[in-house]
């Protein structure tokens, strides 16, 4: 069972909400779900798309072709029909699309959604719920589950709103042809449905983040919005900065004073934060920076996905600066890697950059309810205090980690330093201080490499010692690659796969082990200059075949599968 439904229409039609209701309902039935959406670049108007994939199998990506296209208007049919499977179904609004047009397709179903909402319900805006009910009935979701979802979503928003929406759902449900063509397996599930951005917010809260500062930017703004609705409930504070520099600055200030802090942004904001990131490295102040990548360079493609900030995350900024870079592969991973980002920032006292991208940030997936008890939290190493001749904040230690104090603690006074300094944090420009302190700072990364050598969160693997071809991916491409690998194996192609989540420092031991015996390495990534492939070459001497895509869109499993078959 593997079903891909696309809802398409104009922004303002309520396309997204209709899709979401079905998503939640299907997840409750027990299917794996995977969704993504695109936004128009303008605030209102412009085409809008929500795609839902439901499966009892491995549905790790948005899929390739559509089983059902739900078109809110003629425009949507025109743009999206090409993505329908040959035997796919079209569901359309008879009021907005001439029958002749829609009947071009073999299998099409229509109802006068607009006039029903307008005339029967006297609520033109509820059209999307009529559609949701219709589609739900058509694919075999029960009325009760649809109602449960609507209640859970809208229950707190007042009786009236809830009731009209329930009515609309039921009306739509009743309209659907009785012969249900699709039978959904039912094993009720307790999964929660989160976007990547939401998972990051929840992960941050679980990790102990109690200060968030951010400046709005697509596609990271949802993080600010979610933080506003959640963090204060956990005793945390929010600041909308006047820009990204101020936002990261405030997060660093709060962290210096002892509160775990985070900011989130997208490419242009990350570029602006460059100098401030260096302060975190030099002064050794933990901070977490989320970068929801979008098409670049410059203002680029604000609403489209890309994986082109990797170079900047790893190499950006003047001077030799320490940092850790993580890239979660799916929504569940967003939750766990965010917790890890905080743990690593605290442990190694440096900036940790978490790279997602527009598609991962905004798609939603069903995620098993996290086991909160099993989550491990790391705190920064605290100094033992004594009134000796001044606290050595930057004590040169064997592992590079120097214990910290917090403002307010007597005898722990020190100055955190942005210029090169001695152990006490006093400026020192001599040859010795700089070479010793550079080594100390980078020793933290050596320590991290050791301490993280076996960490299962570094990578996700489908090994195969017999396969000549190894695929190495990073970030949001995980789902599409995963699915491509499974399909390739089904086809009898031998291929092994590793998705790398720790991008700096690279988990060299795990990578070498994984690669042992491999003859060819394929690196699929969403950028023009093969940034990850180049990083692998620079760091590990691996010569990879690079599969890139620069269209502002995620890979489909098919694109990757084709490349695998080509090079295997």
């Amino acid at each position: 069972m593997d079903l891909t439904i696309r809802f398409a229409g104009e922004s303002g039609d309520g396309v997204i909400l209709a899709g979401e209701v079905l998503t939640y309902a299907i997840s409750r039935i027990g299917l794996k779900i995977f969704t993504f959406r695109t936004y128009p670049s303008s605030v209102r108007g412009g085409p809008c798309l929500y795609q839902l994939r439901a499966s009892d199998w491995h549905a790790y990506s948005q899929g390739d072709q559509l089983d059902i296209l739900v078109a809110f208007d003629t425009e949507a049919i025109a743009s999206h029909s090409k993505d329908l499977k040959p035997d796919g179904e079209l569901i359309f609004d008879e009021d907005r699309t001439p029958k002749t047009y829609s009947s071009l397709r073999k299998r099409s179903l229509g109802a006068p959604f607009t006039s029903i909402a307008k005339n029967e319900l006297r609520l033109p805006k509820a059209r999307n719920m009529v559609v949701a009910g219709y589609v739900g009935a058509h694919i075999g979701v029960s009325k009760e589950i649809l109602e449960e979802v609507v209640r859970n979503k809208l229950g707190s928003r007042g009786e009236e709103l809830l009731n009209t929406n329930l009515l609309a759902i039921n009306t739509g449900f009743g309209l659907a042809p009785k012969a249900t063509p699709i039978a959904l397996p039912k094993t009720p599930s307790n999964k929660i449905i989160l976007s990547g951005n939401q998972a990051i917010v929840l992960g941050a809260i679980a990790a102990g983040c109690r200060f968030y500062a951010g400046y709005p930017i697509t596609p990271a703004s949802d993080i600010l919005d979610s933080m506003v609705s959640l963090l204060p409930g956990f005793g945390g504070a929010i600041l909308q900065g006047e820009d990204e520099i101020a936002s990261l600055g405030a997060a660093i200030g709060a962290s210096y004073a002892g509160i775990k802090s985070m900011t989130a942004t997208s490419g242009p904001g990350l570029s602006l934060m460059t100098e401030m990131m260096g302060l975190s490295s030099m002064a050794e102040i933990p901070v977490v920076i989320v970068d929801a990548q979008r098409g670049g360079p410059s203002t680029g493609l604000p609403t489209k996905t890309e994986q082109s900030d990797l170079n900047h995350a790893v190499y950006g900024g003047h001077g030799d600066a320490t940092r850790i870079v993580l890239a979660p592969g799916n929504v569940e991973d967003c939750f766990h890697q965010t917790i890890r980002a905080f743990n690593l920032a605290e442990r190694y006292q440096l900036p940790v950059i978490l790279l997602t991208d527009q598609s991962l940030a905004q798609l939603t997936e069903g995620v098993p309810m996290p086991d909160l008890e099993s989550i491990k939290i790391t705190e920064r190493e605290k100094a033992e205090l004594a009134e000796i001749d001044g606290f050595r904040r930057y004590a040169v230690t064997h592992d590079g980690i120097s214990p910290m104090t917090l403002p307010g603690e007597a005898f722990g006074e020190y100055v955190a330093e942005s210029v090169e300094h001695d152990e006490k944090g006093r400026p020192s420009f001599g040859p010795h201080a700089h070479s010793e302190m550079s080594a100390k700072r980078f020793r933290k990364l050596t320590t991290a490499t050791k301490e993280l050598a076996e960490d299962p969160l570094n990578v996700m693997e489908l090994p195969d010692p017999d396969a000549d071809l190894a695929v190495i991916g990073w970030g949001s491409t995980q789902g599409a690659i995963h699915e491509a690998i499974l399909r390739a194996r089904k086809n009898g192609t031998h291929v092994r796969w590793l998705q790398c989540k720790l991008l700096n420092p690279l988990p060299e031991a795990q990578l070498s082990k994984f690669l042992k015996g491999a003859k060819k390495v394929l690196v699929p990534e969403l950028n023009y200059t093969s940034q990850f492939a180049n990083l692998l070459r620079a760091r590990l001497g691996i010569d990879a075949i690079s599969l890139t895509k620069t269209e502002g869109l995620p890979f489909t499993p098919d694109e990757i599968l084709r490349k695998i078959e080509e090079v295997a």
């Binding site: 210096y256 909160l372 006074e413």
Partner: protein, 275 residues
């Protein structure tokens, strides 16, 4: 005697300013202010930018952070939100505060964090050896303006009032006790206090002779709670008034958004709403 008292906060660090630099005097006044308030060392966080004055914090047995050029205020605000019990003192030069860092001032003023921001205005870029700053007087010759500066300087007090800072004062290290008092009042004030220091730079812009004649202490007839009176005061053409110019009580940033240990939500419950 006073310098002895200041000793409680001073450490053995040797500032490397030019002989006669105004910073020495301001340093002393800051120590005197801490003394007057009886602050505990560990309670104080000094946040400096980059400039000759950037090493202010190193002279004190207190917490401190020597940040980036122009970024004192964002970082100070983060510290204030994280722990509003701390006494956060920002130090920045005229260039740091009003050229590269100028964009942060209005927004800090609006938010009203409990921070005392001491702007050491020597009307020049001292650290980089004498380029014009936003407060360099019209016609003043520097290496970048060999024919004399042709840009109207900004008026820091006028900007501060337009931005709505809740405490504004001006002082001069030639009057160290007076300056110390202003700084102490700024720290006492709950909210964003901007202390504009007329600071001589004998090396690139020597105003030691000029200011004693030009400045005049604000008398008791001025009501610092009166915004219009404050505006009138800074508009004086004849003299530069020093003292407390303006003062207003408003909720602080931390009072509105501060981090607390109060946890009203349970993560487990929150998670289950995402179904």
């Amino acid at each position: 005697m006073q310098s002895n008292l200041v000793g409680e906060y001073r450490n053995d660090y040797n500032p490397n300013w030019c002989p006669g630099c105004g910073d020495y005097g301001v340093l002393r006044s800051v120590g005197m202010a801490f003394q007057e308030l009886g602050l505990r060392n560990e309670q104080i966080v000094m946040v400096s930018g980059i400039g000759c004055n950037g090493r202010f914090p190193h002279n004190f047995k207190t917490y401190g952070i020597h940040t980036l050029h122009g970024r004192v205020l964002p970082i100070a605000q983060g510290i204030h939100i994280a722990n509003p019990e701390l006494c956060v003192v920002g130090i920045a030069g005229d260039g740091d505060a009003f050229a590269i860092g100028g964009g942060h001032v209005p927004h800090t003023a609006r938010r009203n964090p409990d921070i005392t921001y001491i702007v050491l205005d020597n009307g020049i870029y001292g650290q980089t050896k004498g380029q014009p700053s936003p407060t360099t007087p019209l016609g003043y010759k520097t290496k970048v303006t060999p024919e004399g500066n042709q840009e109207d300087p900004i008026d820091i007090t006028r900007l501060a009032l337009a931005y709505g800072v809740s405490f504004l004062a001006r002082g001069f290290p030639g009057k160290p006790n007076h300056l110390a008092h202003l700084i102490a009042e700024g720290i006492r004030h709950r909210g964003f206090a901007l202390i504009h220091v007329l600071n001589p730079c004998p090396t690139f812009h020597d105003t030691w002779k000029e200011y004693p004649a030009k400045t005049v202490e604000i008398g008791p007839e001025h009501d610092p709670n009166d915004y219009d009176a404050a505006l009138g005061l800074i508009g004086r053409q004849d003299k530069i008034p020093i003292g407390i110019i303006y003062k207003q009580t408003r909720p602080t940033l931390a009072e509105r958004v501060r981090v607390t240990s109060l946890q009203k939500l349970e993560l487990k419950q929150v998670l289950s709403t995402f179904r």
